[in-house]
């Protein structure tokens, strides 16, 4: 053992001297939609790793997936590190876009991450996508609006583990609040309750999940018998009824609810924990941002599910600097780089040990994430056809919201997804 270590050390020394002598500089390129945040911390990595230069390129978040398809189907080695949305990892591995990272992470390091995050980044036993952070869905409310309405709403009674508000209670209170604030509609309160990421499986699937429904079959290749079940019919009916009643938002696109909440046009909204900081940027103050645990369905309190998962770092399979890229990915996800990153970008930490009082001081909503993480959190569908799953299921949610017949909508989605996923089964 000692001998092996000595050899390795010598090798490292020789290699580093050699590279130094040849003045060989390694440059690794990172493609992300968070270039500002990563650029702000990369100096510290470069200082710790002389000879390695990190260049970060910005790509608009909506175009990032398109960009990866174009780059990687052309086997481009332009980028070494790719910032990938967690559930996409399985699809990318299937297409041969990502390199395994088992050489750059020890088993202990991988095990330190939250289990759901490790699970989504692992394909066929190899670790491909290391989490930059996690996320958690919670319920926000505008304290000023509630106070103005004079309706009693006390969240201190909820501890998340045993007690939390139920949907029926919330709907009742939200309607009272809206009625008190805007009895004749002249004030322009849009809806009592909104879903920030409406018609996105990330947030919407928590409804059927909270009734015990699963997202996809175990092997990730079927939805028949999974989404055409009681839990899904009930959840979709519950959702559609409340949209039709004017209680849940309609007509707003994903993320449009955010700005309307900040502008006091919506009293209650489901968003993610990091929205706390965006709300501050959008003109709210710590005094008027209220938040509590995601509601449960009556009689299904023990089944409640919250969404989780976030962006990950992966290595391009065609990269010629995998070694340096691996070091960087380890640093920014497991290593001290992640602590710096969390200060730049408000995410739920990717491991239990990173929940600290310092973080809570910046974003108190993270306390809720700490309670939910690993207890109620359900990862998004793990499937090589995740993009198809998202496109078809998002459309289904949107159609149901706009009044489509629920049985038809589910039957269509099952039909389309079964035929799309059959491609991966061959």
């Amino acid at each position: 053992m000692k001998k092996a270590l000595a050899i390795v050390l010598t090798l490292v020394l020789v290699l580093s001297v050699a590279s130094f002598a040849a003045a060989e500089e390694t440059t690794i390129r990172v493609l992300t939609h968070m270039a500002n945040q990563i650029n702000a911390i990369k100096d510290s990595f470069e200082a710790a790793n002389p000879g390695v230069t990190v260049i970060v390129d910005q790509c608009n978040y909506e175009a990032l997936n398109d960009q990866y398809e174009v780059l990687l189907s052309a086997k481009s080695s332009e980028y070494d590190v790719l910032v990938v949305d967690g559930p996409n990892a399985a699809a990318y591995v299937q297409r041969g876009y990502l390199a395994p990272m088992d050489d750059y992470f020890t088993a202990e390091e991988v095990a330190a991450f939250s289990a759901a995050l490790v699970n989504q980044g692992t394909v066929n036993g190899s670790f491909y996508a290391a989490p930059l952070g996690d996320s958690c869905t919670i319920l926000y409310y505008n304290k000023d609006l509630i106070a103005e309405s004079g309706i009693e709403f006390n969240v201190d009674q909820y501890d998340g583990v045993n007690t939390r508000i139920t949907w029926n209670e919330l709907i009742d209170i939200a309607c009272q609040v809206t009625k008190a604030l805007d009895p004749d509609g002249s004030r322009g309160i849009l809806f009592p309750i909104a879903f920030g990421q409406v018609s996105e499986v990330y947030m919407m699937n928590t409804l059927p999940n909270s009734l015990g429904g699963a997202n996809i079959s175990e092997d990730g290749l079927h939805v028949a018998g999974v989404i055409d079940t009681e839990a899904w019919y009930d959840a979709l009916k519950f959702y559609q009824d409340n949209v039709n009643a004017g209680i849940f938002d309609r007509g707003l696109g994903a993320f449009e609810g955010y700005s309307n909440f900040y502008a006091a046009k919506i009293p209650f909204i489901v968003m993610t924990t990091d929205s706390y900081n965006y709300a501050l940027g959008g003109g709210m103050t710590p005094e008027n941002i209220g938040f509590t645990y995601l509601p449960a369905f009556d009689g299904h309190e023990s089944e409640v599910a919250t969404a989780c998962g976030n962006w990950t770092c992966a290595i391009n399979a065609y990269s010629s600097n995998k070694e340096a890229a691996g070091k960087f990915v380890n640093w920014i996800t497991y290593g001290e780089g992640n602590d710096l990153f969390l200060k730049q970008e408000s995410m739920v930490p990717n491991m239990a040990s990173r929940f600290t009082d310092d973080l809570y001081a910046v974003n108190p909503a993270l306390k809720i994430a700490a309670a939910e993480s690993g207890v109620t959190s359900v990862a998004r569908a793990v499937t090589p056809g995740f993009n198809e799953y998202c496109a078809i299921m998002n459309a289904m949610w949107e159609d149901v919201r706009n009044g489509a017949d629920i049985e038809d909508a589910i039957a269509d989605a099952v039909d389309q997804l079964e035929s799309a996923l059959a491609y991966y089964a061959e």
Binding site: G385, N387, E398, A404, A409, Q416
Partner: protein, 287 residues
Amino acid sequence: MTRLNARDKRSGMLPYLLLLPVLVFAVIFKLYPIFYSFVSGFQFKGAVSLRTYELMFADKTFWNSVSVTVKMNLIMTPLQIILSLIMALMVNANLKGIGVYRSVYYLPVTISMPVAAICFSMILSYNNGVANTILGSFGVPVQGFFNDKTQAMACIIALCTWKGCGYWMMFYLAGLKGIDDSLYEAATVDGAGYFAKLFHVTLPMLRRTTLFVIVADTSTNLLLFAPMKLITDGGPRSTTDVLMYEAYRQAFKYGNYSKGSAITSVLIVIILLVVLLEFRMMADRDR
């Protein structure tokens, strides 16, 4: 189209040399990618196979897209052509300051599609769109527009017509400018009214312009997908899921380049057939 004269005998390689730059660029940046695209359609997971086409033709989504594409074009293309002809006839009038109207009608053409999409989704928004507010003041209930499966396609057609008509109008206007005034004078002497002149002089003289506009407009509209990508995502209930958007989705969202290519190839074949048919129909009338 070519004139035979003394130049031809001495030209030798010269015309080929003059063509060379365009040819080289066309081959590298157009012809090769098109060829590659056709070939990719005949691959399945890397191997040469007809399986991609087999799966595509068995796919309900594909046939839905075919029907959506055909329906959209049957409405949109004639609508745009008739509207732009009417607009051209109007801005051809001998009126002071008519140039201002021409410019105003052409203005939407200069707006890029992402910007146009933003404008229309704001106006037709379910919650606070100006359109719903105006309709509401007449007692009409709130409309879904892009969110309503019976209205979404109509809204996209409205957007594209708004953005497209000014462009085709210019071609018609140019055609109108080329018609000899003496023809109208002769018709007036014969006692023809405005509509008689329109149908017996103007429209026949515009045949060539019309052919160009029809062909160019058809191919543009058959390949349209930007508004679907930017606004509706092919929904609601797949009512705006045109073939080109499906091809885009397969290639860019699902990473299934073979299937995207197969759909594109089918589209290109459809376009060529339609264009040939249009040529044939116009030529028949010529005789």
